[in-house]
């Protein structure tokens, strides 16, 4: 792969990787952008996934959403040498991709949710070995998660490592699959159906509890117990677009809502949120915790901005939240807002790897103690920031 700051044409698509170091010099603010990579996909994309299983390097998968063009899955790598974004692979995908998730234990495996015409489908794919100069090798379809009657919405992997289960969500059912990637087989273990027009949109698997999943619908957030496949509790009357578990603290969950912006909840006390963050001017589409620094939240919205929040949540008490909204709360939760986008942003993710941090800040690791990298995936662009906060 080529690197450098010049644009490369790859498979008919243009990537621009440019370093914008000047920005840092121009704005010596508290939060400093160390490196900013712009990588424009000229196709629309709705989803991006962090390849967690690949411990050696920082890679991402992005899937495009194009009705009329051929759709692709891009494997993007942050080159460890000198912080550049490199497209490591480009794979054709038969349908437009609405959701893409990387397998947390095998970096070559990922899942997609797609539409083809009227039908919806979900599959698990394997990236073939890159050998030779084959420009666009075919993805190997391990198995399809068939059996959904409604519109398939989301495939959810157990977020932390090896687990032989997989969850797929359509607009009224939740399927729990037993998967075997080596045998290319998947079996439905159990199935849960939501009642009365639930219109599920997606969900998140509790990293602290194998048996709990948070599913979101038009009007509520529902916590499902996978053993009984029953809804246990719910946050009602909330128009939730996205949900993310706190990777470090148990029972803390972040939701992105139309009405209230971003809210943090303690799952044991669902009556009132722990914290309110204002969110975006229009819908807040996605919210993600930074996997390393769980106080950092990243949100993407249809107002074409990506916001980085600092939300300190003490897991045991809700007292700390009581003065919020009153004028004496001086702490501004919004750390940074990246507004340089032209269209709605549908996905974002926060990543942080010690390895990466070390490489990027070799000289000043001692003073930089917080590091966050995120990507934005908008209607047509993908960007990577290295966000470093001096504490």
């Amino acid at each position: 792969m080529q690197g450098g700051s010049s644009g490369i044409v790859y498979g008919g698509l243009k990537y621009q990787a440019s370093k914008q170091q000047q920005q840092r010099l121009l704005e010596p603010s508290r939060t400093t952008c160390l490196n900013l990579f712009l990588l424009s996909l000229l196709l629309q994309a709705r989803c991006i996934a962090d390849v967690r299983a690949d411990a050696g390097s920082t890679t991402f998968l992005a899937g495009t959403l194009s009705l009329k063009e051929e759709n692709e899955v891009h494997l993007i790598r942050l080159s460890p040498a000198e912080s550049e974004l490199v497209c490591d692979g480009l794979f054709y995908h038969p349908n437009e991709i609405w959701d893409l998730k990387s397998c947390p234990f095998d970096h070559r495996v990922f899942s997609t949710v797609y539409t083809s015409g009227e039908g919806y489908g979900a599959s698990v794919w394997k990236i073939p070995e890159v050998n030779g100069q084959s420009n666009s090798p075919q993805l190997e379809q391990l198995f399809e998660l068939s059996g959904h009657t409604g519109k398939t919405r989301r495939v959810v992997w157990w977020p932390l490592g090896k687990h032989d289960k997989l969850i797929s969500i359509d607009d009224r059912n939740i399927f729990l699959w037993n998967i075997d990637t080596s045998n290319k087989s998947a079996k439905v273990i159990s199935q849960g159906s939501a009642d009365m027009l639930p219109n599920l949109r997606g969900g998140a698997w509790d990293p602290h509890n194998h048996n709990s999943i948070a599913a979101i619908s038009d009007s509520s957030l529902q916590l499902w117990d996978l053993r009984s496949m029953e809804k246990s509790t719910a946050i009602e009357h909330a128009h939730i677009r996205d949900v993310d578990y706190n990777p470090k603290k148990q029972n803390i969950i972040a939701t992105a809502e139309d009405e209230f912006g971003i809210r943090l909840w303690d799952l044991r006390m669902l009556k009132h949120p722990l914290k309110d963050l204002p969110g975006h001017s229009h819908w807040t589409w996605a919210v993600r915790h930074n996997p390393e620094y769980d106080e950092l939240l990243l949100s993407a919205g249809t107002d074409s901005t990506v916001n980085l929040w600092l939300a300190k949540v003490s897991s045991d008490d809700s007292e700390s939240d009581s003065p919020s909204g009153s004028p004496n709360r001086q702490e501004e939760p919004l750390l940074n807002s990246y507004t340089d986008y032209e269209d709605s942003i549908y996905d974002c993710l926060g990543i942080s790897q010690a390895l990466l941090a070390e490489k990027m800040n070799l000289a000043r690791l001692s003073i930089l103690n917080r590091c966050c990298i995120f990507e934005k995936c908008s209607g047509k662009g993908l960007e990577l920031y290295d966000e470093v906060e001096l504490d």
Binding site: L42, E118, H239, H272, T302, S344
Partner: protein, 768 residues
């Protein structure tokens, strides 16, 4: 010896003295004494030449060494001198001999006479013995005689003494028997003091022998004493008696061991009743009378002070308590002032009598509390009045939505806030100008409280607004009733709150600040470590942010509602099998209805800006209008091209176009709010479209709907550019998501739109 007589006459005295000394030393056995006697003599010698150490002089001393003497003499003197000295010495020796002889004679003579005297004494003493014996015998006889006399007189003396004692006793008994009459006499002359002293004198006897022959007498005198006590009591109880007499009566009663404490408590109870009466019907007695009574009691019962203090304190605390009771209702400051003034006057009157009760301090403290409470109540009342005004409007406006009703309600609540604050300030003005000594002392404090009160009031009002709007974080602390209500907060109320916040920030707070500065300057009795109590800047900031919050909340609620509508619209039909568009979809009507509702609410509550020329508002308007024809071109071309290049061009065009600022800051104007709501709705529309996949007819339906919206929305907004941009975006999104994007032919489009317009017109005319 012969030469002694012929010695030099000048040396005669000295020589004689020396001789005598020598003689004396002869008798004196002590050599040191002799030497001591000789030494001063030699010292007193006038001749300076004679050194004491000179051996020549030591001839008289005990340590005289003849050899040395001779040697020295021989060495020092010539022959003539030696001769002279020889002569002299010989003479001296002769003299000494004669003197010695004379002394011996003398002594002898004396000795002889002494022996003679002793002989005579012996003879005299012989006859005395017999005389002495005689004397002894006589003395013993005298003594025995005297003893006999004494014994014979002894009986009689005892008798006399006994008689004397009896006489005294009899006298006392006589006094006791006389006591009743004496007491009666005393009663008659009202000499109660004498009577008491007599009786107390006799009392121990009565106690000892009361049941013997004294019985009658005791009874009689006790009766008399009872009479005395009665008289004394009567005297004590009668207010007409002089205070001193009453005090004396008490002292006497006390001497009689009469239970004075009972009396005292009786009297004090009477006083208490009296005070109670006073408390209930203050007109009956004046505070002057009470203070007089207090003074009297103080003198009569010097030890009753504590009780009196308690009484007065109870009296005043009760009265203040009743004032406080009044405070629970909203009472005008002037009334409160009158009450406090009368209380203060009473307190000072009483204080003159009993300074120990510390009434001024007490009333000062209580008044402070009361005024503080009063200020708090007044503010609370105002707050509830304001919220009542707000809530009333929304509850009535729910039932019938008259055209100008919201407007009047808005004005009413504005006036309520403003006028309420001013009225309060005036009332507080009364408090400060009350001219009572008490309030003068509290002036600084009151000023602080008023300022603090305003600060607190505004903050609380803000909090209350939040509760009303249903966005309060304190939901959990509210009652369940409230939380139920919160779900149904009318959006109008939120908008009104927003506007009210702006009004408070821009009008009321400056006005209040001004008032405070002009009439409530000073203050600062509290330390300034927390800064001045009323911080208009802070309040303004608070209200500005709250206002913005409410406005956003309003917009949010409205867009939420519309969003739900749109959601239903886009999720229910199967777009990919959509039928050919025949007319503008119903959801457009619903959307317009909602927006009409917003417009009518907003127009009544928010201030409108003067309508300028239409294309004026948005920053991106010029560029957008410039870009319009280009987009038009592009869309036209897209009819023919249906390839990927078109898609790229689409994006290229977008790149060159200046970014449209859709999410501008909301202002408190009708246009801005309506525009923001519209923009958000259209943005949502776009996002909904992006989630679907359309067939050609579905795309055309969207195109038609948007086209119709474009014409209809012109009525509402000035910022046409942004709206048309967003409508185009919706169109573009539909275009992108369409499998076969062929737009409707313009004539068909026009026809359908005109048909819809005609239908609307017809409906309107039917309604009229």
């Amino acid at each position: 010896m012969a030469t002694a007589g012929g010695a030099a006459p000048l040396a005669m005295d000295e020589k004689a003295r020396r001789t005598r000394d020598l003689l004396a030393s002869f008798y004196n056995t002590d050599p040191s004494a002799a030497a001591g006697a000789a030494a001063p003599a030699s010292l007193a010698r006038p001749s300076p030449t004679a050194a004491p150490a000179s051996p020549l002089d030591s001839i008289n001393s005990t340590s005289f060494d003849p050899d040395i003497y001779m040697n020295v003499l021989v060495q020092q003197s010539n022959l003539e001198g030696l001769l002279q000295r020889h002569v002299k010495m010989a003479a001296e020796i002769k003299n000494l001999d004669t003197d010695l002889q004379m002394l011996v004679y003398e002594n002898y003579n004396k000795f002889i006479s002494a022996t003679d005297t002793i002989k005579r004494m012996k003879t005299n003493i012989v006859g005395m013995e017999a005389n002495m014996d005689q004397l002894l015998a006589k003395i013993t006889s005298v003594q025995s005689k005297s003893d006999t006399v004494n014994t014979s007189l002894f009986d009689k003396r005892e008798n006399i003494e006994k008689l004397h004692r009896t006489r005294n006793l009899l006298r006392k008994v006589q006094f006791i028997y006389d006591l009743p009459t004496r007491l009666n006499k005393c009663i008659k002359t009202e000499a109660y003091a004498d009577a008491v002293s007599f009786f107390t004198g006799v009392k121990p006897i009565f106690e000892a022998y009361g049941d013997t022959s004294f019985q009658d007498c005791k009874k009689a005198s006790e009766e008399a004493m009872d009479l005395v006590i009665q008289h004394l009591q009567a005297k004590l109880y009668s207010d007409s008696e002089p205070i001193e007499a009453r005090a004396e009566a008490v002292v006497l009663l006390k001497q009689l061991n009469f239970p004075v404490d009972n009396l005292k408590s009786n009297l004090l109870e009477k006083l208490e009743d009296c005070l109670l009466n006073f408390q209930n019907e203050p007109t009956q007695a004046s505070i002057g009378d009470i203070s007089k009574t207090f003074r009297a009691y103080l003198i009569i019962f010097p030890d009753s002070e504590r009780r009196l203090i308690e009484l007065t304190q109870a009296l005043f605390s009760n009265r203040y308590e009743s004032v406080r009771e009044n405070l629970k209702k909203r009472i005008p400051s002037t009334d409160l002032l009158a009450m406090l003034r009368s209380l203060w006057e009473d307190a000072t009157a009483i204080d003159e009598v009993i300074p120990e009760a510390a009434l001024p301090a007490f009333s000062l403290e209580t008044t402070r509390d009361i005024i503080r409470q009063h200020i708090a109540t007044v503010f609370l009342h105002l707050q509830s009045e304001i919220s009542e005004a707000l809530v009333r409007t929304h509850s009535t406006s729910n039932e019938k939505l008259e055209e100008s009703q919201l407007q009047t309600a808005m004005e009413a609540s504005k006036i309520k806030v403003s006028q309420g604050c001013i009225d309060l300030l005036q009332e507080f003005h009364h408090l400060i100008d009350g001219n009572i000594e008490l309030l003068v002392k509290l002036r600084d404090l009151i000023i602080d409280w008023v300022q603090e009160g305003f600060q607190d009031f505004f903050q609380k009002l803000d909090g209350h607004f939040h509760v009303l709007s249903g966005r309060s974080k304190k939901k959990s602390q509210e009652s369940t009733m409230d939380s139920v209500q919160i779900d149904k907060v009318p959006t109008v109320l939120v908008l009104m709150l927003a506007q009210l916040c702006v009004y408070i920030e821009q009008t009321t707070v400056p006005k209040v600040t001004e008032e405070l500065a002009s009439s409530f300057f000073g203050g600062g009795a509290r330390s300034y470590e927390y800064g001045p109590p009323f911080v208009p800047g802070e309040i303004c900031r608070l209200y500005r942010s709250s206002g913005e919050k409410f406005l956003h909340h309003y917009i949010n609620m409205k867009t939420q509602k519309i969003s739900k509508l749109l959601n239903k619209r886009f999720t229910t039909p199967v777009w990919i099998k959509h039928k050919e568009p025949r007319e503008v979809n119903m959801f457009v009507d619903l959307l317009l209805l909602e927006i009409n509702g917003v417009v009518s609410e907003v127009k009544q509550i928010l201030p409108g800006i003067v309508r300028r020329h239409r294309h004026s508002d948005s920053t991106g308007s010029t560029t957008s209008s410039r870009s319009n024809p280009m987009r038009e071109d592009m869309l036209n071309r897209s009819n023919t091209h249906r390839a990927r290049s078109q898609f790229l061009e689409n994006h290229l065009a977008k790149l060159f176009e200046q970014k449209m600022e859709i999410f501008t800051k909301v202002e408190y104007t009708q246009e801005s709010v309506i525009c923001t709501v519209l923009k958000l709705c259209l943005k949502s529309l776009q996002e909904f479209v992006r989630l679907q996949t359309f067939n050609r007819s579905g795309f055309q339906q969207i195109q038609l709907d948007m086209e119709f919206l474009k014409t209809s929305l012109k009525e509402f907004v000035d910022d046409e550019a942004a709206i048309s941009f967003l409508l185009k975006e919706v169109n573009n999104a539909a275009h992108e998501r369409c499998l076969d994007p062929i737009p409707l032919e313009p004539p068909i489009l026009d026809k359908l739109i005109n048909a819809k317009l005609a239908k609307i017109k017809e409906e309107n005319s039917n309604m009229w």
